[in-house]
């Protein structure tokens, strides 16, 4: 009896023990996560939306105003904290921030491209084309900031396991971007079956994911050719032959020439910071904001517009604080910002702030606000849409290409007039503007008559100036164009000159040093170069 019990016990024990060893099925089930989203169970078209949002909203913001806004003299202040660009100072944080797209929109574009290529679905040629066009748009901004950057090996850590990407030459990057745009503009199809922009076949998703053009492939094609024209003209000094080929191809293919086709992302006023216009959030400041931190329009910019009696003064110039307000303290400026009873909006008396000082040139803080003209607050509303590529820019580029004698199918004067018209209509179309700030058709015509394009060097200078004024709402593109078109802007009081490059970022120095050092060597710099020296190094297309 005793013996039997014992044997049963041992037997049962061994069975239980044996059970552990082979029970791998249960372990597999345990590793099946409930909430994990993978390409298989998610809708990848939502990632495309995310790329559009990140690219659009990344175009403008406080950093761009503080650096490029100061470089190109749109803005000035004496506040140490706000005028990194106006002082031509180097700031690691501001300098490194555009690089963040490597872990954001660019990474998503690369992952989505890889997904679509592997999916190899003939019904998704448009999806792939749009993804690649956006990828080029993201890379363009990045390379124009930093010069030689990782492209071919970038963002591949999960796809190919490449964790330390090498840097590509900007020349090669431009070639890649132009070829990609060429191919994808042709791949874009307006065939009805291909137009729906949805991954999962849900009918309501038809165009909603494309928050820019609502699934209109004609407009995407125009955007692709417009990017091609921008890139072609940007490389025109460095490789005229390549530039001519692609500029003519782009214009023949059809670029954006009407404001209704602009690549624009909407923003929304409300409680969600991530939906408000980042540009406007910066200008509006904070309830306890220090009054000295409010930027003024720059002296050179104001004087330039005044000299030309440019009607855009009405839109760009804000007011000067009324003399009746004798003191301003923390928080006042945000309260006054849009209060029409506090400001004098006289565009004739408008005065720009001097550049590159860190002392208040006025006797008091109140006097500072009374003397110098602010940016127009009614232009910077929280729901102001962000424009990444506009008809005005394209028309100027067509005019420039025509002047070079390239085949464009129009005259330089016509394109020039169209550009100015597009720029002025675009600016005065913002809903927040006061009625008196809108530009009339008559004013546009008068301006074009008074400021003809001219010929030769004068025409080139005119285009550079106009491009500069027209890109007021995109200081980054304005800076790229100032560099390429050699628009001469004044140095600041200490005599230092405008940076022409962003320095390579600290993150790469920590994690990808070998490749970074070869990039520095490749562009002719010492690996131990100081950041201050590096930002004076011209990139490939910036020939002089």
């Amino acid at each position: 009896m005793k013996n039997i019990k014992y044997k049963i016990f041992v037997l049962v024990s061994l069975l239980i023990l044996g059970g552990y060893a082979c029970n791998t099925e249960e372990l597999k089930i345990l590793d099946d996560p409930k909430y994990l989203l993978t390409p298989a169970n998610s809708d990848m078209s939502m990632m495309f939306t995310n790329i559009l949002i990140n690219h659009g909203r990344g175009a403008v913001g406080g950093n761009q105003i503080r650096l490029e806004g100061g470089y190109v003299k749109y803005y000035a202040t004496y506040s140490n904290l706000m005028q990194m660009g106006g002082q031509f100072q180097f700031d690691q944080g501001l300098n490194d921030s555009p690089w963040g797209v490597y872990g954001g929109s660019l990474k998503m574009a690369i992952a989505l491209e890889d997904y679509l290529v592997k999916l190899n679905n003939p019904n998704m040629v448009n999806n792939l084309a749009m993804t690649r066009i956006m990828k080029v748009a993201i890379i363009q901004r990045l390379t124009d900031f930093y010069g030689d950057i990782p492209v071919t090996e970038a963002g591949l850590a999960y796809i190919s396991g490449n964790m330390k990407p090498k840097y590509d030459k900007q020349q090669d990057i431009y070639k890649y971007m132009l070829e990609t745009l060429d191919a994808e503009a042709q791949n874009l199809s307006t065939a009805a079956a291909l137009v729906p922009y949805n991954w999962k076949g849900a009918s309501d998703a038809k165009s909603i994911r494309d928050i820019i053009y609502a699934g209109d492939m004609v407009k995407w094609k125009k955007f692709a050719y417009s990017m091609m024209l921008r890139l072609a003209m940007r490389s025109s000094d460095a490789d005229a032959a390549m530039a001519k080929t692609y500029a003519e191809k782009a214009i023949a293919g059809g670029v954006i020439t009407a404001n209704s086709d602009n690549w624009v992302i909407k923003t929304k006023d409300g409680t969600i910071n991530g939906e408000k216009n980042p540009f406007s959030s910066f200008f509006e400041g904070s309830p306890s904001g220090d009054p000295e931190r409010y930027l003024k329009l720059g002296e050179y910019f104001v004087d330039f517009l005044k000299a030309k009696t440019d009607p855009r003064r009405k839109v760009i110039f804000g007011g000067r604080l009324l003399n009746t307000i004798t003191a301003v303290t923390a928080g006042d400026m945000q309260k006054y910002w849009r209060d029409v009873t506090k400001w004098d909006y006289d565009i004739i008396l408008a005065k720009g702030m001097i550049h590159g000082t860190n002392a208040n040139p006025a006797p008091s803080l109140a006097a500072y606000h009374q003397t110098y003209t602010s940016p127009n607050p009614f232009l910077f509303t929280m729901d102001m849409s962000i424009c990444v590529l506009s008809a005005a820019e394209m028309n100027y580029l067509i005019a420039e290409a025509t002047l070079k004698g390239w085949s464009t199918g129009t005259t330089a004067d016509l394109a020039y007039a169209a550009a100015i018209t597009a720029s002025m209509t675009q600016l005065s179309a913002f809903a927040g503007l006061l009625a008196t700030q809108k530009i009339t058709a008559g004013e546009i015509t008068a301006y074009i008559t008074a400021n003809p394009l001219g010929t030769g060097a004068a025409a080139k200078q005119r285009l550079a100036e106009e491009m500069w004024v027209s890109l007021y709402l995109d200081p980054t593109e304005a800076w790229f164009n100032v560099r390429r078109m050699n628009l001469s802007l004044p140095t600041n009081v200490s005599g230092s000159v405008m940076p022409v490059k962003y320095a390579y970022v600290e993150n790469e120095r920590s994690n990808n040093l070998v490749n970074l050092n070869s990039a520095l060597t490749q562009i002719g710099l010492d690996v131990a170069v100081s950041r201050e020296t590096e930002i004076a190094k011209r990139c490939w297309w910036d020939v002089n």
Partner: protein, 1063 residues
């Protein structure tokens, strides 16, 4: 084995011929000893003493010898003779040969049989020097065990590292096992706040023993979860006695932070309104107000008020240190009752405790209540049932956010009274309109009173664990046992970003987050144990299996943009976000062990275990861990000289390893349903998963000797280990350009080799017992291989122009790299530089920076030592301990904050009288440098002429401004702190007077008329002072041990009075 022997006791048919009764006491205090094992020598007949030290045992005849053994005391043998009542006094000894320790899987083994190093801390140590945080008691006591406290007090977690970092990036904390069941020790943090871990829910008075198993051989039976060592906690259980034994433990303690800002300069204040040294104080705030680069404090009444408040006049002088003024005295009160009793077959123990802790940080506290029940029942002759349940509930209010306090308390101008920042009486830190009272134009600076009183993180934590084990004696030499333990941790967290802080959530409109997380773990194990003696050979063998299932759920809701101001309820939100978290994992295991001993002097042990993980792909998820060990007690084999009391040699080899955390093999996208303007978005994760992950493996050789001389008056326990982890599962930092921030990979190998020495000296024993203990450990870590790359990132900081911490092949772990000043022929090199201020260029000097970062040191202290001494006389016990670690460097972020604002004493040199630079400067070209003595340069001094106290910058000869505060600010802040690491890299070594205690046990004569058995009072002081600390403004003993100290709170000093009574 002892366990086994005791069990057999119940099976013998005892033909009792005589009953012996008696009492067992300790020689030092004459107090009864409970739980002493009384055994009839050569038989398995035994019993144990009750709480009054009484025993009763039946002996076969007068020749019988009774053996009295008790942990921590010398075993005594008494021949019964014709006595029927015995009075036994046992001598206390730290060096008892027949010590029994709890080892892997709860198996009790004799210390002498162990082939590895294992140390046990007894419950008494908790009583002698109580602490509400269990891990603090272990601090400094055991060679090779490093306890790093976050400085967040009783409610905070501790980081424990045993024998160095086994992995370069996994959590190196050991496995904790309570009464045979591994516990969930999930520590978490939210917004920089330390949420503590499961150990903070344990009542230290319930602990009977804590065993620390350091090496792989000791832990191999725990397999995957034990590669970082195991800490086994055994809680108290009931004992047989007449009636119910009641004991009470109460303590009251006070606690203060040791002010970390001992290097705060008190001489210079903030500059005037032009940022210069004119004595016109700031009338409007700007960034300059936080920078103490102004003129010397002179007590002048500036005639203006802080924040326009006439009750707050600005007198230009140093006010009370902000740290001292802001922090308060914390306190702890604990009350703990336990009841125990039982018969031969049924024993129980119940304890209840209440702990109330008030943190030295204002408005932060924690309460904890625990109930524990343990029962031990014997049914018939063969079945023993052991059941334990433990319930603990704790409520924490406002867990501290160390970084925020450490930053804010270092940047408020020292000419201000911090009480000014209190704001409204009814709402500290706020303005009359309810919004935060700012003290800066920088919107991101949070008023510390707002941090403490308005923002909050409150949590309620319930931990329930229950376990039952059944033992069945199949034959006298074979038994089977099965156990199941279930543990559930439920935490409800309410996190409030108060409405009214502009840079808080959604432009200051506040945010309330509520979430509940449930962590559940079920452990089951089963084993068969065989024990039989064949003449001079004893064999013990065990085979078993276990399974672990872990499950985690989190459900949360966050409400942003509160609609009704200051109403912090989640339903009052303009925008609601919900979140869910989920993970589960499992491990299946089988294991076995065998120990063969010959004649009590050779012990040979072998164990094996195989684990299968759910977290790895099925093809890679199995791993086997073997171990072998030898213990050779040569003093039992040979006749050694009289003074040589004991000698043992041990050696072992073992392999352990493990899997990864859940879902590391899968990449998951994140989905935002609210998205942008109503369009949902999908994004990629920041780190890369790895479907091909393999288990990591650690193998360790260990050898050691244990020698004791002069009847245990001198004891030496030495161990050497060589540990190597291969296929480590590592999260590596990637460059942004790769698209991802980090990746999980199997990467290379890391080695740890070390020496551990425990030395015990008893110079005096008898009526006075004086004992000294020295524990020393040295661990040499080395990165052997990183899978083809030469280095990986392991942290970075922006201080000193940028610090990188790296793991480098062939080097110690956590190598710290930073920029340094260039040195040529031993001379520091300087350069002329121009800074622009107020639209003018100023000439100054700054260090020339070496273009590449250089190695500054390593982040982990390789050496650790402690010295403890104690004296016992009659009922009085005095003890003291110092401990320290040395050999590491640390980049201290707190010092950067202090230098940025001119608050550190490091920024003082030269401010009064000028700074005369020493070194060289380049008079040649960059390509062909010519280094010239700087003293030959024109204007090589900084601020040479303090008399020229110019109110406004005036350009004098050579663009030199004789006295301008901006020169110092630029020299120290911009020239040094933001460019080179010299001022923020410190020696990370420290030594502390860690503990002093005095205890007194009331003599029998005093208490004999009282209804109590024994009364003990003790007083313990912890962290009395720093003996060695090179940080100008911080504590190297807290906050990270990986090279970067990121604004951790310092150690706290506490004094605790403890009363313990047994009824």
């Amino acid at each position: 084995m002892l366990l086994v022997l005791l069990l057999f006791a119940g099976l013998q048919v005892v033909l009792a011929q005589k009953t012996v009764n008696g009492t067992v006491t300790g020689t030092t205090d004459n107090l009864p000893l409970a739980g002493v094992t009384v055994l009839v020598k050569g038989t398995t007949t035994g019993n144990s003493t009750d709480i009054q030290g009484k025993f009763s045992i039946q002996v076969p005849n007068n020749q019988a010898i009774l053996q009295f053994s008790f942990i921590g005391y010398t075993t005594q043998e008494v021949t019964v003779g014709d006595q029927t009542i015995l009075s036994i006094a046992l001598t206390e000894s730290m060096l008892q040969m027949n010590e029994v320790v709890v080892t892997a899987l709860g198996i009790k083994r004799q210390t002498k049989a162990l082939s590895y190093s294992a140390t046990e801390i007894k419950g008494d140590d908790f009583k002698k020097a109580p602490d509400i945080n269990v891990m603090n008691v272990l601090q400094g006591k055991i060679a090779g065990v490093d306890i790093n406290n976050a400085g967040t007090g009783a409610a905070g977690s501790s980081k424990v590292t045993i024998r160095g970092n086994t992995s370069i990036s996994r959590d190196n904390n050991p496995l904790y096992v309570i009464d045979g069941v591994p516990i969930i020790r999930a520590s978490s943090s939210i917004g920089g706040r330390d949420l503590g871990d499961a150990l903070t829910t344990i009542n230290p008075n319930d602990i009977e023993t804590m065993s620390v198993l350091k090496g792989a051989a000791a832990t191999a039976l725990y397999g995957s979860r034990a590669s970082n060592g195991v800490i086994i906690i055994t809680t108290k259980s009931g004992s047989k006695q007449n009636g119910i034994g009641v004991s009470y433990n109460g303590s009251f303690g006070i606690e203060n932070y040791v002010n970390p800002y001992k290097g705060r300069q008190t001489e210079y204040g903030n500059p005037g309104s032009n940022g210069d040294n004119s004595d016109v104080y700031q009338t409007t705030w700007n960034q300059e107000v936080h920078r103490m680069w102004g003129p010397k404090y002179d007590g002048k009444d500036l005639g203006i008020f802080w924040n326009d408040d006439p009750t707050k006049p600005l007198i230009y002088s140093y006010k009370e240190d902000h740290w001292d003024a802001f922090m308060r005295q914390g306190s702890t009160m604990t009350n703990d009752f336990s009841f125990n009793g039982g018969s031969d077959t049924q024993k129980f123990r119940v304890s209840v405790s209440d702990m109330r802790y008030t943190s030295p940080i204002p408005n932060s506290n924690m309460n904890r209540q625990t109930v524990n029940l343990s029962t031990n029942s014997k049914f018939g002759k063969r079945i023993t049932l052991d059941a334990r349940t433990s319930y603990s509930t704790s409520k924490s209010k406002n867990r501290p956010n160390p970084g925020r306090y450490m930053q804010m308390l270092s940047l408020i101008p020292t000419s201000w009274d911090i009480n000014w920042l209190k704001g409204e009486t009814e709402k500290w830190g706020a303005k009359p309109d309810g919004w935060m009272l700012p003290f800066s134009t920088n919107d991101y600076y949070q008023n510390p009173y707002w941090s403490a009183y308005q923002d909050s993180e409150n949590d309620k934590r319930d931990r329930v664990s229950a376990s039952g084990s059944l033992k069945y004696d199949i034959t006298p030499w074979l038994f089977a046992t099965g156990r199941m333990g279930i543990e559930t941790n439920i935490m409800k967290v309410t996190n409030i970003d108060a409405y009214g802080f502009l840079r808080g959530n959604v432009a200051g409109t506040g945010s309330v987050e509520e979430y509940t997380s449930t962590d559940r773990q079920v452990n089951m194990d089963y084993s068969l144990v065989f024990n039989k003696t064949f003449s001079e050979i004893n064999v013990t063998a065990m085979a078993g299996g276990s399974s672990t299932r872990s499950n985690y759920n989190q459900d949360g809701i966050r409400g942003d943009a509160l609609l009704i101001p200051f109403y912090h309820v989640v339903t009052n939100a303009g925008q609601l976000y919900s979140s869910v978290g989920f993970s589960q994992s499992g491990i299946n295991s089988i294991y076995g062990s065998a120990e063969v001993s010959y004649k009590d002097f050779v012990y040979l042990t072998a164990t094996g275990r195989n684990d299968w993980f759910s977290t790895l792909a099925p093809a890679n998820n199995s791993i086997f861990y073997p171990s072998v060990g030898l213990s050779y007690v040569f003093s039992n084999q040979f006749k050694l000289p009289e003074f040589f009391s004991f000698g043992k040699f041990r050696a072992s080899y073992a392999e352990v390893g493990g899997g990864s955390s859940s879902y590391s093999t899968k990449i998951g996208y994140s989905f935002d349903a609210i998205g942008y303007l109503g369009t949902p978005t999908l994004s990629l994760p920041g780190s890369i998963a790895n479907p091909n992950l393999q288990p990591y493996q650690t193998r360790e050789y260990e050898t050691g000797i244990d020698l004791r001389f002069f009847k245990n008056r001198i004891g030496i326990d030495y161990a050497y280990y060589d540990k190597k982890t291969t296929n480590d599962i590592v999260g590596v930092t990637l460059p942004q350009t790769s698209g991802y921030g980090s990746a999980t990979v199997n990467l290379g190998a890391i080695s740890n080799k070390g020496h551990e020495l425990m030395l015990t000296l008893v110079p005096v024993t008898g009526k006075i017992h004086w004992e000294m203990n020295i524990a020393y450990s040295y661990n040499k870590g080395e990165i052997l291989d990183l899978g083809g790359v030469s280095e990986v990132g392991a942290g970075s900081s922006s201080v000193g122009g940028g610090i990188d911490v790296k793991q480098i092949v062939g080097s110690r772990p956590y190598a710290i790299f930073g920029y340094t000043q260039k040195v040529v022929d031993g001379q520091p090199v300087w350069e002329r530089w121009t800074f622009s201020y107020n639209g003018q260029n100023h000439l100054s000097w700054r260090p020339v920076r070496d273009p590449q970062k250089t190695l500054l040191g390593y982040g982990v202290n390789p050496n650790g030592a402690s010295f403890t001494t104690s004296v016992t006389w009659k009922g009085i016990n005095l003890s003291a301990m110092i401990d320290g670690k040395w050999g590491a460097k640390v980049a201290y972020e707190g010092e950067q904050e202090m230098i940025e604002r001119g608050q550190s004493i490091q920024t003082l040199p030269g401010r009064d009288g000028g700074l005369f630079l020493q070194g060289v400067y380049n008079t040649g070209t960059a390509a062909a440098p010519v280094y010239t003595d700087i003293t030959t340069a024109p204007g090589y001094t900084i601020n040479a002429n303090p008399a020229a106290n110019l109110p406004n910058p005036v350009v004098v000869a050579g663009n030199e401004i004789p006295y301008h505060v901006k020169h110092f600010e630029n020299y120290y802040r911009v020239g040094f702190a933001q460019r080179v690491s010299e001022m923020v890299i410190f020696d990370g070594s420290f030594a502390k007077f860690r503990q002093a205690s005095i205890g007194y046990t009331l003599p029998k004569s005093v208490i004999k008329n009282l209804p109590v058995q024994n009364v003990n009072v003790s007083m313990v002081a912890r962290n009395l002072f720093d003996i060695y600390n090179k940080l100008t403004n911080g504590d190297p003993a807290t906050g990270g041990s990986n090279g970067i100290n990121s604004l951790a709170l310092p150690s706290s000093r506490s004094y605790t009075l403890n009363l313990s009574i047994n009824f």
